[in-house]
């Protein structure tokens, strides 16, 4: 309906929104105030549901007429039936979960395909901060100091690939963003600030 909608999205969300086929059934895990959901509903005519931990965000999404349930991905994904959706989306949330490996398994139980995006902890700025500063990095995508960051499981592009390999999960596609612009796959490990994977069961 509003083709311009995805353009106002955060770059990783815009990228995901552009990949979801029209009419798909989508679960957005950690959906915030429903910005991506609204874009998928209005731009892709998707049947989209959300799970969000923060009640103020849930209320904001409900006020936009979105179907969002207040809950904790660490516990409440278990309530969703297997195969109830075409796509599950976990954007910028994996590194905050108690057990990212189990969350990935849950996503692919709920839907055959999942988008997972996270800030790459092996980005060169992060490496520099550790190597030369000897300190936990505070960057644009990791803006919070170590003692109050919700990011309890920092992960790199290579770590994530290893996890997928060990779990027998296929990477259908991957996108890497550097300064909100695409970065090449080859240099992703250190050039990508932000990684987005589309994964599925092999």
């Amino acid at each position: 309906m509003t083709a311009s909608e995805p353009a106002r999205l955060r770059p990783d969300l815009a990228l995901i929104a552009a990949q979801v086929p029209p009419g798909a059934r989508v679960l957005d895990v950690g959906c915030g105030d429903g910005t991506l959901m609204a874009a998928l509903r209005d731009g892709r005519n998707a049947d989209v549901r959300g799970l969000e931990i923060d009640p103020a965000n849930v209320a904001a999404a409900m006020e936009r007429g979105l179907a969002v349930v207040q809950g904790d991905a660490n516990r409440d994904l278990a309530d969703y039936p297997a195969g109830g959706f075409d796509y599950a989306i976990l954007s910028q949330t994996l590194q905050t979960t108690e057990r990212p490996d189990r969350i990935v398994d849950e996503l692919l139980r709920i839907a055959p395909r999942a988008f997972v995006s996270f800030p790459n902890f092996a980005h060169w700025r992060v490496r520099l901060a550790l190597m030369w500063g000897g300190r936990m990095p505070v960057t644009r995508l990791l803006p919070v100091a170590w003692y109050e960051t919700p990011n309890i499981h920092h992960v790199t592009v290579s770590d994530f690939r290893d996890l997928l390999r060990s779990r027998g999960i296929a990477v259908e596609r991957a996108w890497f963003l550097s300064g909100d612009r695409p970065a090449s796959d080859a240099a992703a490990s250190w050039r990508a600030e932000h990684a987005i994977f589309l994964i599925s069961r092999k």
Binding site: P55, V58, M62, E63, R64, A67, V68, V69, Y80
Partner: protein
């Protein structure tokens, strides 16, 4: 009928067909009292049904004929309001078994010409909803834009969605549950026993005596009222403050403000509510368990439901706690139905849904307006 209830005229409709009940019995020609606000549009697609709670009634947005007080949700249901009567046709019907114009134990049994009293058949939440559906049939409303209710009203909204999924576009369930818990039933039983222990109750046949069991009903109301509040709310409002006195009296007067408050709640309640109706409606709530006909699988009550569900709970509500709403959400997920849920923060316990809450009001409005 001679109760202490002041006689009042209610807008009511008497159905010319019997109302079949879940028990197998029937009410021969049931009266259903209701209030309506706003205009039903030509497409007949702007109707919203509001379902009232245990001790509420159809006077959701109009002055109560007995108490003279404004409607119980007058701030929500009004022109330009959260539920905008300039745009929606809002209906609220007195539940079957109640005492505000719909058939109940205080109504005259056409067979004997005497009040039914305890000879009125036991009704269920499902029966209340069936009566509302028959009323809407008579009013020419095939489909509801929304059904909205808090507490027992939420149970009716759930039952509407479960029993008439094709007649409801969306259901908003506030501070409610899909079944009555053992604790819920226990509190209701205390209230019923208080009524039945009042010598004026007379096995329910008190209408001719002119002396209804007001003491028992007042105690029932006092006990129930505690369950509508929270410890934090009671502490904030009353603490241990004394009522109009400097020191304890070393007696059994209402020394404490909270005692005085509860006594007032009890005494004022008996002027507007029939004790037998209290027995019947609490029973209907106790029998409520939407999963029961499906072997306990609540999800099966909502299989492939096209209804959009919205659920709201309050963190200090221990009568219908958040866990009960979550249980409904889990069932809706399993059923593949579209559900929203949020737990709002409030110090006011179960009663929070009736109080001024801009947070709740924004949710209601957003949910009702979505996609319209």
């Amino acid at each position: 009928m001679a109760t202490r209830l002041q006689p009042a005229r209610h807008n009511q409709l008497v159905l010319d067909c019997p109302l079949p009940l879940d028990s197998g019995a029937a009410v021969a020609s049931p009266a259903i009292a209701y209030e309506a606000y706003g205009r039903l549009n030509d497409a007949r697609d702007n109707a919203i049904l509001i379902c009232h709670a245990l001790t509420m009634d159809q006077y959701v947005a109009s002055t109560h004929p007995v108490t003279g007080k404004p409607g119980w949700w007058a701030k929500v249901v009004r022109p330009g309001g959260v539920i905008d009567t300039d745009r929606y046709h809002v209906i609220c019907a007195n539940v079957i078994g109640s005492c505000m114009g719909s058939s109940g134990p205080a109504s005259d049994d056409p067979g004997s010409g005497q009040p039914y009293a305890m000879r009125f058949p036991v009704v269920t939440i499902g029966d209340m909803v069936r009566a509302q559906a028959m009323l809407l049939d008579r009013l020419g409303i095939a489909r509801l834009h929304a059904v909205v209710g808090g507490s027992m009203g939420g149970m009716q909204a759930l039952a509407w969605a479960a029993h008439y999924p094709d007649r409801v576009d969306r259901a908003l369930i506030i501070a409610s549950a899909a079944r009555h818990s053992a604790q819920n039933i226990a509190f209701h039983e205390v209230g019923r026993q208080a009524i039945m222990a009042d010598p004026n109750w007379r096995g329910g046949d008190y209408y001719a005596s002119g002396e209804p069991p007001t003491k028992g009903l007042a105690v029932a109301r006092m006990a129930a009222h505690i369950t509508y509040l929270s410890e934090a709310g009671l502490t904030e409002k009353f603490g241990r403050q004394l009522q109009d006195r400097e020191a304890k009296t070393f007696g059994f007067d209402a020394d404490f403000q909270v005692e005085s408050y509860l006594r007032h709640q009890g005494i004022s309640f008996v002027d507007r509510f029939d004790a037998n109706s209290y027995l019947y409606i609490t029973r209907a709530m106790d029998y409520f368990d939407l999963g029961d006909p499906h072997g306990g699988r609540l999800a099966d009550a909502f299989r492939q439901s096209p209804v959009r569900f919205g659920l709201v709970s309050f963190d200090s509500d221990w009568l219908y706690p958040t866990a009960e709403s979550r249980r409904i959400v889990q069932a809706l997920h399993a059923a593949g139905a579209q559900a929203s849920f949020v737990e709002l923060s409030s110090p006011f316990g179960h009663d929070a849904f009736l109080l001024d809450s801009p947070e709740l009001w924004r949710l209601i409005s957003g949910f009702i307006e979505a996609g319209r």
